[in-house]
Amino acid sequence: MSTRRRRADGGVAYLDVQGTLRERTVDALRDRTLRGNLDTAAASWGEGREGMRRDHGLDEMRERAREIRQSNIRNLPALLAEMQANVRDAGGTVVRAADGAEACRYITGLAKARGVKVVAKSKSMATEEIKLNEALDDAGIEVVETDLGEWILQLANEHPSHIIAPAVHLNREQVAALFREEAGTDDVPDDREGLVAHARVRLREKFAAAGIGVSGVNLGVASTGTICVVENEGNARLVTSQPRIHVAVMGMERVVADWDEAAHILQVLPMAAIGQDAANYVNLITGPRREGEADGPEEFHLVIIDGGRGALRGTEFEEALACIRCGACLYSCPMWRSVGGQAYGSPYSGPIGAVITPLLEGPSSPASRDLPFMSSLCGACGEACPVGIPLQDLLVRARARASSPATRKSGIAFRAWSRLWRRPATYRAWMAGWRLMLRARGRNGWVTELPGPGAGWTEVRDMPARWPPRR
């Protein structure tokens, strides 16, 4: 369990995680409950997704989704300018923030200027990325997460483990225990409906007190300046309409050109994310309440975050910007499914997190530089991605970009390797030596301890000294 801490340097990864990435995977592997919870979630996602492929042609929809997002990223500056102009025309305010710190300064400044004491939030990974909760907390402003999963995590003082389903690593009993602690009573039911009803009552009280509602943005539609917020609980609808001020936080890459494109992506998103052909709520918001309208906030602020994204355009990592944050690559990933998202130490976990966290932070950030290596490159992620991001290729490229004592060490080893293995004579000599070593160390056909880098192999498994291996 972690205590949330703010980052002054605008980094993405969490600073309060303990140990190395490998140590965190070992800890997570010991947690049998976690593994069971993740398996249940991933299996249910897998079933839903199979249905989407079978009955709704998700695979065919993917190609168009890829084309749309590629073209969005190519035309990003123009789309953002159009989006900005249309939001302003609708009476909203647009702020372009170069990094998370700038975005947080704007939002806390706004809260202070309007005398706001309580901020209600719906689920948003962008605010998790910029550490908005920590910034508001530092400014003495109370933050209430209104998404059920996020609220559970707020009570548990934990980081989300999945982009879409932040508390997916916890089971019903664990959630009931948290609710009892928060309510100060044992009188909390532990069936699903009872838990949701309990949370609904507790959270409704908070909406009334909030002066600002903060939401994320799934898609911005440039042609009309509309933001789309997709959700299943109805809390985002309240967050974006009840408080006097609505602040929407959007990563700069989340913009599409028009409603044709938006309609396609909004279909693909829930199919890939939760294996359903529609989300329960799709909120479409264009500016604040207009004259004569009964509902909606008085002020609408759209905060668009660069945070290192702009610099990725035109690079070999550009395709990562196409991501629509559906979380499909997480569920499909054998590594994520084994250790959960928290071990990654970043709001963005799984394959996409292992690619973009170090891209947004820089190649030598100790908090994220090892992430691209935590993959067997099995390619299940690229196959699951509804916008066709070649995640396994991006992971390999991200490895080449990483810089750490470990990469420098392996760089030296591979320079020697390369000299030996590009020449037949030295290659054959190396192989002869290796086979001699296997034979010398072998006992009953198995080597249980290898020297050098091979030690990592025999820490957990044996090496056959002859083939086919003996039983």
Partner: protein
């Protein structure tokens, strides 16, 4: 192409592959000067070191007809990664040319409708290696070859799931790698097979290595060895 893992741990695999092809009447040459496809350095994030070794491989196999590889992973490296590795470089055309001529062993058998005759009877269970499945996009050809050889295959649960080998990953995150390997080994046993078969030696070394450490009674053989008992 022999593959470096076969050279290092199981020369019987490339030798069996040659015999299988020759029994089908294929004229096989195994260039003595070949080394490695360079995947270890490429996936470890050292493209320059990888390129130097891959350049040698381009030379060795220049001017040959089809290049048959008893590994979905090494074949996938040449087919999928070589064009990217040499993009915009003088060797780009040679890389694309080799990529177009490279094929995995059982894919080659299926493509030319070759039948090497009887193999082991089994029962075995088949592990789909990730690169065979998701880079070479193939799961049928090894099963077809085993069926033709009269070998009974008992499918295990989640045969398309990664065994956790992942090359360099297996030694940088050994615990995570071994957990997935153990799950794979147990799934193989549950399928009612005593032997796991795959088109990739790397997966097999890993699965069988974990199984042996954990005391799981599982044998392993490369698909070529099952086709050439």
């Amino acid at each position: 192409m022999r593959t470096c893992l076969s050279d290092a741990v199981a020369p019987s695999v490339w030798k069996a592959s040659r015999r299988v092809l020759e029994r089908c009447g294929v004229d096989v040459k195994v260039p003595r000067s070949q080394t490695c496809c360079s995947q270890p350095a490429w996936t470890a994030g050292h493209p320059d070191q990888a390129r130097a070794v891959a350049r040698h491989t381009l030379k060795v196999f220049a001017g040959t007809e089809e290049v048959v590889v008893p590994s979905g992973s090494c074949a996938g490296m040449v087919v999928h990664a070589y064009p990217e590795m040499f993009a915009g470089r003088p060797e780009e055309e040679a890389a694309r040319d080799l990529a177009a001529r490279t094929i995995e062993l059982t894919q080659f058998l299926a493509k030319h409708d070759l039948d090497p005759g009887r193999g082991s009877r089994g029962p075995v269970t088949m592990h789909d290696s990730c690169h065979m499945l998701r880079v070479m996009h193939e799961s049928e050809s090894p099963r077809e070859a085993l069926a033709k050889a009269g070998c009974e295959v008992r499918e295990m649960q989640h045969t398309d799931r990664c065994c956790g080998f992942g090359g360099i990953f297996s030694i940088t995150f050994p615990e995570l790698s071994a957990r997935l390997g153990e799950e794979k080994a147990r799934a193989a046993i549950e399928a009612g097979a005593r032997e796991v078969v795959s088109c990739d030696l790397g997966c097999l070394m890993h699965i069988t290595g974990v199984a042996h450490r954990q005391g799981i009674p599982l044998r392993a053989r490369h698909v070529a060895e099952v086709l050439d008992p």
